[in-house]
């Protein structure tokens, strides 16, 4: 056995701290020093924020698929209707962390329109319903290329949209946040809301994938190549 393959490569420190990291540390330390919040408050908030996942979004879509009146309300007023499933955009923690990015719009896919979201300016993402964004969503590669070559980028995710479907890119550059409501796939007749929610994965609500009856994100992809 080769010596070089016996152990992991040493973890490299990049040694580079960005201006934003310095700014965040400075503001955080000042706020703690002034007693605006404690270090533990900060840790708790970070732990909570990082634990929010896409389950809220899945629930919204599954409920909309089974309840036409809920769907109508969700499409008409996303921010307000989220409260029905316990998601409050204006007061997410119930402890004074309001966001001014509280305009939430749900984009409905139809047989002729496929929606996909991006933020070319930074990394705007509907975090209260989808949690933290995937790493690739924040890369310049995705952000620059999705607006310009959307069909090619979707194809790289394995999604090929036919020519008769309008691919509609939403660049969230202001105060709105968007989530895609995919179409309910065939073969899900009679499914419970819970079963439906399981196939509404994160990527289907970003718009880079479509829900499939035999695929949930909670199980390892065993059918690769099958």
């Amino acid at each position: 056995m080769s010596q070089t393959h016996d152990h992991h490569a040493p973890i490299q420190e990049s040694g580079e701290i960005s201006e934003f990291e310095i700014l965040e540390t400075a503001v955080r330390e000042l706020a703690i020093e002034k007693g605006l919040f404690s270090a533990e408050d900060h840790r708790r908030f970070s732990e909570w924020a990082e634990s929010v996942g896409p389950a809220g979004g899945s629930r919204l879509v599954a409920k909309a698929w089974t309840d036409p009146e809920f769907k109508a309300r969700l499409l008409a007023d996303g921010t307000e209707t989220c409260k029905e499933v316990g998601i409050d955009w204006r007061d997410p923690t119930g402890s004074g962390t309001p966001s001014d990015y509280t305009y939430f719009y749900v984009l409905e896919n139809t047989p002729t329109v496929h929606n996909v979201i991006v933020c070319t300016l930074c990394s705007c993402y509907p975090r209260p319903v989808l949690g933290m964004s995937p790493d690739w969503y924040r890369t310049p590669n995705y952000r620059r290329r999705l607006v310009r070559w959307p069909r090619e980028v979707l194809a790289e995710f394995g999604l090929h949209m036919p020519p008769e479907v309008e691919v509609r890119v939403h660049d969230s550059n202001q105060k709105s946040r968007f989530m895609v409501m995919p179409m309910r796939p065939e073969g899900t007749e009679g499914w419970t809301e819970e079963q439906l929610a399981a196939i509404v994965t994160r990527d289907t609500m970003i718009g880079v994938a479509l829900p499939q009856v035999d695929w949930t994100a909670s199980e390892p992809p065993s059918k690769v190549g099958a």
Binding site: V147, R148, R151, E164, V167, V169, D171, N173, Q174, S176
Partner: protein, 98 residues
């Protein structure tokens, strides 16, 4: 009363990028259609300076045909892109719809 109505063709101004505008370079000088109204928000030019009581303006969702944004667009004619613009960034489109 907002200056632009749904269905109006509007052109994004090709103005300075010196300050924080949130108006993407790729939309400057391009023409699209107003498809939705948004609430009145503080414009980014003021908000960026922490002026939460800054100037409020109507915002619009503008839908562009991809081929109008990118002359060498490689997708299909029906493809579109939507984004939001404050009123100060829009002017009535001059040319006739093609």
């Amino acid at each position: 009363m907002t200056r632009f109505q749904i269905g109006d063709r509007v052109t994004v101004k090709d103005a300075t990028s010196m300050f924080h505008t949130r108006t993407q370079a790729y939309t400057r000088g391009r023409t699209g259609v107003v498809v939705e109204h948004r609430p009145e928000w503080v414009i980014p030019e003021d908000e960026a300076w922490g002026r939460e009581d800054g100037r409020k303006e109507p915002f619009y969702v503008v839908r562009f045909l991809q081929r109008d944004l990118w002359p060498k667009y490689t997708g299909f004619d029906a493809d579109t892109l939507e984004t939001e613009c404050s009123e100060r960034w829009l002017e009535p489109a001059e040319e006739e719809p093609k």
